[in-house]
Subunit: 236 residues, 4 copies
């Protein structure tokens, strides 16, 4: 038992949820779990298939992206995780996938319009799609810059990372986060469901209107507001 056992277990369990939820094939995704007291996070090693993964394979990395412990090379997206942990102090889990529908929206370079209460149960805005980065950002420290692109676009849109826990990176794919790695995985499955429904909605009615404000607010408030009444007292 090391001091990292807990986050390694969390990261492992959360990574293993990705194929079970149909969000990844092969090595198309990674989850990390942070320990704020220790100032590190545990992340999937790069290019290892889920069915070969063990908790002990998780790599321990600090918020500057430096590997602290682990025999394997961490996910190639590690610096994106690091920069988000460094600046968003209340998150303890981050997920990156190439899930089918969310990735198709990212490739389309469009925000996902808020068409229904399924979406409003999680946030009240269009799911943001950050534009592809400038060439000098891509050619430089790409994964670090991906983190900055995410943060900058959230700021540009006026979104709080505590209220909007998911984003698309244009031409690339989705990222999600949350207070735990488990919650971040949950958010990535929700995003995929929202992305599929929004695709179908526009196919069925190209003039489908966005959800109106009263419904946006109602659904968000009943799950997340001061007087929320969704879920059990202890669980939300």
């Amino acid at each position: 038992m090391s001091k990292y056992t807990d986050i390694k277990e969390q990261a492992y369990e959360a990574n293993m949820q990705l194929p079970k939820l149909g969000l990844v094939i092969f090595t198309f995704g990674n989850v990390s779990a942070a320990d704020r007291d220790l100032g590190v996070f545990a992340i999937k090693p790069s290019g290892v298939a889920y069915d070969k993964l063990t908790p002990n394979d998780m790599v321990i990395v600090d918020f500057e992206g430096v590997t602290v412990k682990g025999k394997m090379r961490p996910s190639s997206d590690t610096l994106t995780h690091a920069v988000l942990y460094k600046h968003w102090e209340k998150i303890n889990g981050i997920v990156h996938t190439h899930s089918t529908y969310a990735t198709a929206w990212a490739q389309s370079q469009r925000d996902i319009p808020i068409f229904g209460t399924t979406h409003a149960d999680y946030n009240t805005v269009d799911i943001p799609c950050a534009p592809p980065m400038d060439d000098h950002m891509i050619e430089g420290d790409y994964e670090l810059q991906t983190g900055h692109q995410i943060m900058n676009y959230m700021k540009h849109k006026g979104h709080s990372y505590e209220e909007v826990e998911m984003i698309l990176v244009g031409n690339h794919a989705p990222f999600s986060w949350g207070k735990t790695a488990e919650k971040a995985v949950y958010n990535s499955a929700i995003l995929e469901a929202i992305a599929q429904m929004a695709f179908l909605t526009e196919q069925i009615n190209p003039q489908a209107p966005r959800l109106k404000d009263a419904l946006k607010n109602k659904h968000w408030q009943r799950k997340h507001g001061a007087n929320s009444y969704y879920g059990q007292e202890e669980s939300k």
Copy 2:
């Protein structure tokens, strides 16, 4: 054994069918089962994952929406169930899901056109999509008003709840019902299949005509009419 054991079992079994039939992920749905003699229904507790659910978790609620027995908070949609049971005296099961295709139609704010006999085997009209509620209904007692919106739109369309056992609520998602909780779940799976086929039909032929009256009547009559000959004597 309490007097509620039977409906708690029914509600539990019916809720557990939702993920098996691919109609929900996580906590995206709820089923209730009513006992008309006792004047109550058993409903899923709010925000509890299906794989953690037990029959004993079901909450007993009366037709005014008041919790009669149960340790947990009932589904946040409980008042919608309550108001439908109160006014539609022959139903004993109600289901709400956010199943993918039915929800996409709800978000599109369109009735689902009747394109084929698969649809006519269950009812002979377009599946109604109630418009989103007025703001004052949303801001007030939202879930209760959702029940009224459903009943009002059924009346506006001239549909009997005994003949049309499914509806979409605009911008939200589907509801279905039936003589038992099991039948209501069956109807929600049928609705999802009809919704997917109708989506594909319009993609393949944007000018696809509605089913003609002779076929509507034939298919409905052979399953539900006085001289029906579908199924076994005892089962229909």
Copy 3:
């Protein structure tokens, strides 16, 4: 052991393939298996769920549609099967499903264009879609007339039932057949795959051209021609 045991087993096994192949939910389909010497076929009982079915439930019916043996009522589509067996003397299996993509094409009232070699491996023409029947046919002996509609449209198109083993009935759903019940089920799965690929092909390229004659002939000949070289000697 009765003289019907063999076709009851065949019909049972073939029916059980439908849910495994994703072609039906609940009771959305039926398969029959004929014995030409006995002049009868075994068919699924009406409205019985696949997971409750046993070989002994199969109902024995003659080619006029009269039940010869069995405790249960046969499929409501029995007369369609009977009339096809009566007139098409070389088939011993028939399948009816409401599989998603094939049914969507049927609802669209369009033949499925032959876009590729996947299709040409089975036949060299557009999959025919018979128009909905005249009202007097529907209001009369509907299931019998469905059989005649299928035969008439095949004749109208100039198709041999030995070369084209699948059809759509407009506004309704697909039927397929073959030398055995197993082959008929195989054909219904092939039809569903072809229907999905053709839908996607038109979405990707609305001007996609039909397969050219040289490819149609080559693929069909290599599987079915006098000098076929697909499969093993004994199996084709």
Copy 4:
């Protein structure tokens, strides 16, 4: 143990992956594994269902397409495999499937545009779609000519078979290859995922732009370049 045991096992294992990955139904695909020292490859026998396949059923064929050992007839596509092995000396595995989305693109006769980094992780060009062959090629030695058509179109596009390991054959279906049979199967699953995402991308945004050069290069380089940092040292 024969000298062919190793490639027979490889070919068997790789063939069995196809249905597990959802890339084939029935007999819709084949994989081969080559041994360069022996100058032969092991390939699936024609028309045998995956659930009946054994390693010993694999047929040993040389690079001229002549069967060297095996009781069964090899895949009808054997000459396509042979000609590719003969000319592309660094590949040891080839896969042919009729996977749904890739086949739909092939039927559409369009290259798959490069819309995102999921695609760029594997190659930096549109996935080529070779046009249907001239009639005299089809009527002649069809499967051999299919191999030449693939090689000619790769050359016409200026693609190296070591950098672009997948192609569509117009009106037909995809082929993929790689340094091992396992890698070739991996490539065919990747192609199917890319094909589905590209289809959805164009549905969501018909004006979706192609991926820009900086992103193409970055993603390809980090997986395949001289300074690649994806995966573990030993595995890439």
